[in-house]
């Protein structure tokens, strides 16, 4: 079950491209590719393609990519294979801020900005309380904070007027419906790749322990701080774009590890492509399965992802 790392990366790029083409072509209105390519399509077709489906596909792709990358980073930072981008209570902080903003009557943009601020606040809280280089305290602090946020979310839901409840629940389940701007995601993705690829080999060693990494020439505290800030930023952007979508940050990096791409130089870009493609496909299904009604993309993703991942795990040689 182990493939050549380079082949995995090339395969993933193709999968990502295919997922976006599929997303552009799927929907209640059929788009004639021949007309589009020959420039004879109607204005409506262009409008649909360029202003509805393309931004949505890009948002889905960047969100999935950012979450998968921060999942991989978080697993090294906490040296815990169970870590995901939300493990430090980040999505909880984002959720409280976002549904708080909804109650106060902010629009979609206000809610997104609220989510971003909530996520960053949550990260800095964990950081401030535990210190970023003490991983067991970091994990415990994050998990406890996450429970606190969870309680606050339930409290807000309990006292919210019924009219707003559905919108809040959809936000909490994660969805790409509210067509927020694509730029933060694209910038985040570029920044993530630019800042992690030069330290990818450091991460390989860091995952084997701080002392070993230090003895092999890794500036441990600097690299850890760098991962931490990047994780906070990437995850906050993802949460801002699509609400809280769990799961992708946990299973995408692990699937790649099971396929033999444990080297972070392959794993990080690979996670971006696979995570992105995965969410694009899940979102395409979510908006077409029982159209015109939309399902939460996070739910579809879990429904496909859980059996797929269990299959990979059962097939792997992991003891």
């Amino acid at each position: 079950m182990v493939m050549k790392p380079w082949k995995i990366l090339i395969g993933l790029i193709l999968v990502a491209a295919a997922s976006i083409i599929l997303a552009l072509g799927s929907g209640s209105i059929r788009i004639g590719w021949a007309e589009i390519l020959s420039g004879k399509a109607s204005a409506l077709d262009y409008e649909l393609l360029l202003h509805l489906r393309l931004p949505r596909a890009i948002n889905a792709f960047t969100t999935g990519a950012l979450l998968a990358m921060s999942g991989a980073l978080m697993q090294v930072l906490l040296r815990n294979p169970l870590a995901d981008p939300y493990v430090l209570g980040l999505s909880g902080g984002a959720s409280v801020a976002a549904i708080g903003a909804m109650i106060l009557g902010f629009n979609a943009t206000g809610t997104s900005i609220g989510a971003f601020c909530g996520a960053m606040l949550s990260m800095f809280l964990v950081f401030g309380i535990s210190g970023f280089d003490r991983q067991s305290r970091l994990l415990l602090t994050g998990v406890i904070l996450a429970s606190g946020w969870g309680a606050l979310i339930t409290l807000i839901l309990a006292i919210s007027p019924e009219a707003q409840l559905r919108g809040m629940l959809f936000w909490l389940m994660g969805n790409l419906d509210n067509a927020s701007s694509s730029y933060p995601g694209l910038i985040g993705l570029a920044a993530g790749l630019i800042f992690t690829l030069p330290i990818a080999r450091d991460l390989n060693i860091l995952s084997k322990g701080d002392h070993l990494a230090g003895s092999l020439g890794v500036h441990v505290s600097r690299v850890r701080l760098q991962i931490y800030v990047l994780c906070a930023l990437l995850t906050s952007i993802a949460v801002m774009t699509a609400g809280s979508i769990g799961f992708v940050g946990l299973i995408v990096p692990h699937s790649l590890r099971l396929l033999g791409a444990g080297d972070h130089r392959i794993l990080l870009p690979g996670a971006a492509f696979l995570g992105g493609a995965f969410l694009v496909l899940a979102d395409t299904l979510a908006r077409t399965l029982i159209a015109p009604q939309q399902l939460p993309a996070g739910v579809i993703m879990a429904l496909i992802g859980v059996p797929m991942f269990l299959y990979l795990l059962a097939k792997s040689k992991m003891p």
């Binding site: 003895s215 092999l216 890794v218 590890r257």
Partner: protein, 255 residues
Amino acid sequence: MTCLLEARGLCVPAGEKWACRELDLCVRQGEKWGILGINGIGKTTLLHALCGLRQAQNGEIRLKGRLLSKMKRRDIARIAGILFQDSEDHFPATVLETTLIGRHPHISPWQWESIEDERIARESIKAVGLSGMETRRADTLSGGERRRLALATLLTQDPELYLLDEPTNHLDVRHQIEMLERLSLLAQNPGKALIMILHDPSLAARFCDRILLLFEDGHLLGSREDILTEANLSRLYHCRIASVEGPHGKIFFPA
């Protein structure tokens, strides 16, 4: 001959106590140092301080004449390498991949391991007797095999100064002797030296030529003949130690 590693007035705290105070040490090329002391005295702490993994309270350490505190981690890693007491495997990696990370300080951030790097790694794997296991997952190895894998990684790092924290941990008697003989041979190469923490004074008598004893209230260092005496070791371990003359030097045992 100048010192490869030099410590002056070194004070290293270990918890509430001191691993060492006012330690002056000069490790020259070709020397094999043994550090002995009771559990928890701070041997590991001192070893980590000697390669900058831990801050010393006072004093200075120089590596090839350069002040350790002013050196980049990468530059330190090309000169001094350390074998840790334990290794961690949180994520799957093969024996070859694990060994290859030893090349890290020698290749630039954007560079990939070359064929030459892989050759060095394979040679190290062969040297520790793990040939044929290159594609095995490191976490499926036995305790002793993992110990030898950690040594293979250190050999791949190819430092000038080897710092070894209980290198014979987890090894059976044959592999203990083989490991220490291999390390002794290493120290004979030009420019190399090694410092190892040992718990068996007989192994220290056989494989080290310089000895550092860490007591609760100070330290003692010098040549093997001067330092490894029944009186010193009895004082070190708080129990009576006797010795007989063996084929490879003195053999110490609790009397």
